[in-house]
């Protein structure tokens, strides 16, 4: 079974880590959001790619979920002494990733190539691909104007109420090499428990990805999303706040509606929600998709593996027409 996972940051990285333990590496491809990539102090920073890679390489900080384990902060402290910008947390080890990525990009390599090289050096076996080699920066429309994503997310800590999003340049962008092929040959596509608005939608907005996913009822792809919203809240990040600000009560059901059922012209054949939200399962099935109610909170590596297994079994059932 070939599995493709679409992932953003921490939640996506955790499930992908479980998947990498549950299936052979050659059957797993991970397509990662790059909409929150940005340039900071001349360095190209790809927060979601780094979170996914650090997690699969066993380098991630187990407490935060992002950044590196055993990180030190001497550069940032010295930067503060010089009155430099410290709103974005640059760890000393993490800095090497940004420096070397920037150097290679400047030398003419693509983000895909750099990512492949990093995965090789870090001993990561599954294929990790950026969604695109083109920059597609997410802009957040807020009450205070149109903000670059990291300004909204880190500097403003998601405070300004959101009115919408724009994925700048996405219309003319291309998916990264291998993305379309991976989607076309996938038996199961998993949408990780990442932020629908700013982690998954940017991937889905790329014309070639959209075309490869063949939305709607002719599709025979099995596409399963795992809800990032549990009990009306998110484990991490602003997804619930965004739903509310956009006029939608945040819930697992709202996420399922957001992506839509393949049968109704949307994307999903199945949806995975938490035990806490079991009462929403029938409403979700009424949208025209299968549902799996299970424990979706990933507190430890064992949880990641178990949820991955649950999702894989669910996907297999869906592809066999059961459910």
């Amino acid at each position: 079974m070939n599995v493709v996972a679409l992932a953003g940051g921490v939640g996506g990285a955790k499930l992908v880590d479980g998947l990498s333990q549950a299936i052979p590496a050659e059957h797993l491809t991970i397509i990662v959001n790059t909409g929150d990539d940005f340039e900071h102090m001349g360095l190209k920073i790809c927060p979601d790619l780094d979170t996914v890679c650090y997690t699969l390489a066993g380098l991630a900080n187990p407490e935060t979920g992002w950044g590196r384990a055993g990180e030190t902060w001497n550069t940032l402290e010295s930067l503060a002494e010089l009155g430099g910008p410290t709103w974005f947390q640059l760890g000393d080890k993490d800095l090497a990733t940004h420096l070397e990525r920037t150097r290679r990009l400047r030398d003419g390599q693509s983000l895909s190539q750099v990512t492949r090289w990093f995965c090789q050096m870090w001993g990561i076996k599954p294929k990790i691909m950026p969604m695109s080699d083109d920059p597609i920066p997410t802009r957040v429309f807020t009450d205070e104007g149109d903000l670059p994503f990291q300004d909204y997310f880190v500097r403003r800590q998601c405070q300004p109420p959101v009115k919408g999003f724009r994925f700048q340049g996405v219309e003319s962008s291309h998916s990264a090499p291998g993305v379309v092929e991976a989607l076309a040959s996938a038996d199961l596509i998993i949408i990780c428990p990442s932020n629908p608005w700013v982690s998954i939608d940017p991937i889905l907005a790329i014309p070639e990805v959209k075309a490869a996913l063949t939305f709607g009822s002719e599709s025979r792809q099995v596409v399963v999303a795992v809800s990032p919203i549990i009990g009306g809240e998110v484990v991490k990040g602003p997804a619930a706040k965004m739903f509310a600000e956009l006029g939608v009560q945040p819930s697992a059901l709202a996420v399922a509606r957001h992506y839509g059922a393949q049968k109704a012209g949307g994307l999903l054949t199945g949806f995975v929600l938490d035990n806490l939200d079991a009462d929403q399962a029938s409403a979700i099935m009424n949208l025209g998709m299968g549902s799996l109610v299970t424990d979706t909170i990933m507190r430890n590596p064992g949880d990641r593996f178990r949820l991955a297994e649950d999702v894989l079994v669910f996907g297999e059932k869906l592809s066999n027409g059961q459910q």
Copy 2:
């Protein structure tokens, strides 16, 4: 007494540190070589400026003389894991300097402005100026071709025999704001015990500096050099090796000849040499300059202060026409 010191790296920084303890900050200006500046991984690195600034800020590594005290190397180690370039030693704290400098330069500030800001943030009182805001990269002509300075100095560890030097673009360069004014109002100009070929000559090669120094016998400037060569060797760096490769027996006398006596169309009114080289004093005086024989090795902060005082007293004598 207004004092201007021309300085390169470690030796220069030590004497300048002594001078900063011996005279009020408002009477001391330090003009620093930028010929060894280069770009590495997208970062603008100014080794001599950093060495002088770290030393005066009390941040320098007391063992190496360059880099920062209590430095850590986590970025460099992580860079090695990614197969990144590690030939240039980037410490975690030191990196902040390069990142913030590069950011400010990219924002349109000049190197002088950035240096002034850094000095303010680090609490450095004397005026430190780069020799120029224009890039004037030193190229080293060697048996193996024309090398950028840091390639020769760090990557090749000064191994290829030297045939000459070029200070690229120096003909059309300008000295940094304040340099000419400082030289014009100086009662004493001190050439620090830095490498004549690659630390001091680049400064002297700037047309406006050359003009301000009014080489030759009409000059009434007191210019004193401190020999970087002691007993035919240097405390640090390739100066002696360079003299030998260029066909000159390395010695204090050779350094004095290199700069030349003001009376004979050169630069110096006086020369400071080590006790070890006392036998060369008369030959140096025969060149047409005063000489001071003293202990010039700076092992500790006390040595720096004592040598600075010796040089200042010697300079004062020269300016009073005694000696």
